[in-house]
Symmetry: C2
Amino acid sequence: MHGMRVPVPLDHANRLLNHGPTTIVTTAHQARRNVMAAAWVMPLDFTPPKFLAVVAQDTFTRELLDASGECVLHAPTTAQLELTYAVGSHSGRDGDKFERLQIATEAATIVRAPLIAGCAAWLECRVIAEPGIQQRYDLFVLECVAAFADDALWQRGEFRFAPDGPRTIHHSKGGVFFATGERLAARR
Amino acid sequence: MHGMRVPVPLDHANRLLNHGPTTIVTTAHQARRNVMAAAWVMPLDFTPPKFLAVVAQDTFTRELLDASGECVLHAPTTAQLELTYAVGSHSGRDGDKFERLQIATEAATIVRAPLIAGCAAWLECRVIAEPGIQQRYDLFVLECVAAFADDALWQRGEFRFAPDGPRTIHHSKGGVFFATGERLAARR
């Protein structure tokens, strides 16, 4: 099912989220950490790679994001559908979700927030301070400082999913997702 | 293939783009109009519904968006893959793309920009002035003032695609897209 987590050149990092998959966001500050689902995340720029993420003001993730200025964006797979829904349905203020949901993690390479095992993509990010839109819209500009993909799903700079294998997922409405479907190339 | 274009309540408008499909953006100002593909578009808020769109500074769409403060976001279908790629590959400064590509349009209900026939969803939008991020990131905050879906694809407040029917599409990299895949519901 899973391949190796391999580095993705930063100028291709946008391609990890171009297709609009839902994400899982991890954060950490000092001894505290959290994990949350976030559907409203997308690329903003190519080089250096920037991303946008909406993180609501009342969440524990927001508190840790504000405190640390760092996070990791993950693109979970169809095999992580229940996990994605579960981390989006409880607050980390009620107890460590990594322990409760038995989420396997690895250390990131640059940021303090952990990497969740088994995802299709990982993007280590730092917040670019934009206090106006953070306050008005809960909107964060993130610079991606390290990117990785599962090499069983990522080939020659793009996602290539096997017909019956794991794929990224897209949020529709509470608890309902779409798998990423068939690859379609324009004739040009 | 196609159903009727039916209104979507504004508090459900986010669900038209939650799953991260690629979009087509139309704009119009006085006698000029344009159409462009935009992959970096997503919801920002529920009620009133707001969306984010990245529109590069050198485009004709940007000029018309700045001049009019309005646009229509469309979610095209698999049947419109070539159209989506074509409108993203030429500039409207080189001639009217609606005429060249024989794009059928209808009048919108509130804004001046036209609706492209045959899409899965239509969102009439007005720009919320955010000059800082417009200038720094080519990033626009849009308020959706009218929303519609094809009722052959939209049922009881969500997209429901038939196995062999048209679906929304997601941009991967230049000219390569994914169809929206299978619907997956979490167990809860």
